[in-house]
Symmetry: C2
């Protein structure tokens, strides 16, 4: 029989990663949900948004690379891209170095979608900060700086 009080300090330490992962999972999920609210202003699906985001952050790329980085079939990518091009969020052009290849790039309207989502996320974080006592805000800021720093790819 185990009760909470029998948990030793070692066991607590062992459970810490799982506990922090759960906290982070919930925090990330709530911000994500708030951000995606912005998509309701555009007729864009979650799958289309994932693709758009990929092009926004990684720059213009070929359909093949896009399929690989999203881990979806080329035919699925093609369907998503076709609708995003039709609705003005993406541009499909022939590659300048290899005319047989098509490259996908984001349009100003596509950029606007990404920025709207980020804006909704920032607004939510702003609401959250308002509920945190002044003296704890620095603590949160420092903690996120530490996590960000440790998670950044190391320069060798």
């Amino acid at each position: 029989m185990f009760s909470d009080s029998t948990i030793t300090e070692n066991e607590t330490r062992r459970d810490l990663p799982a506990h922090l992962e759960q906290l982070l999972r919930t925090i990330c999920f709530r911000i994500r949900v708030q951000g995606r609210e912005a998509l309701k202003n555009y007729s864009i699906t979650a799958a289309q948004f994932d693709l758009l985001q990929r092009v926004y952050f990684n720059g213009p790329q070929t359909m093949t690379k896009l399929s690989q980085s999203l881990g979806i079939a080329k035919s699925t990518t093609s369907g998503l891209v076709t609708r995003l091009v039709r609705d003005g969020f993406l541009d499909r052009r022939r590659d300048e170095t290899d005319r047989r290849v098509f490259t996908v790039a984001i349009t100003p309207l596509g950029e606007q979608v990404i920025k709207s989502v980020i804006e909704m996320r920032v607004r939510y974080v702003e609401e959250v900060i308002k509920q945190i006592p002044e003296e704890k805000i620095t603590l949160v800021h420092n903690a996120l700086d530490i996590l960000y720093e440790v998670m950044s790819p190391k320069q060798h």
Copy 2:
């Protein structure tokens, strides 16, 4: 002309939500990428995983509800579900209260996928914690507790 040194304390305060959102976005993204590594052991796409996750966390549900919560067309949902059922990750059954309706539920194999992803995430968080000095770990833990608490839906 503006340089960093002209930023007043008020301006810094105004930029804080945007700064914290960016830190959180990167932190969440890195954990996410590590977790998705687990999917390589199963032949499952990102879109299929999103759907699976939804069924795992929200319980058995109808195709209509699933389409709505994922914000995708019923035909797309149907295609994703068909492949997940075929590969043994989901079960499609007739609803017990309304025999005309199909309900989608997760199988033990489907649960295993979700748990593998969470395990990869926890392992990454564990690696991250190891790089944080002992005395800072409590700070990070406290900060995440604060964010989690403030972001939780309020009970009235």
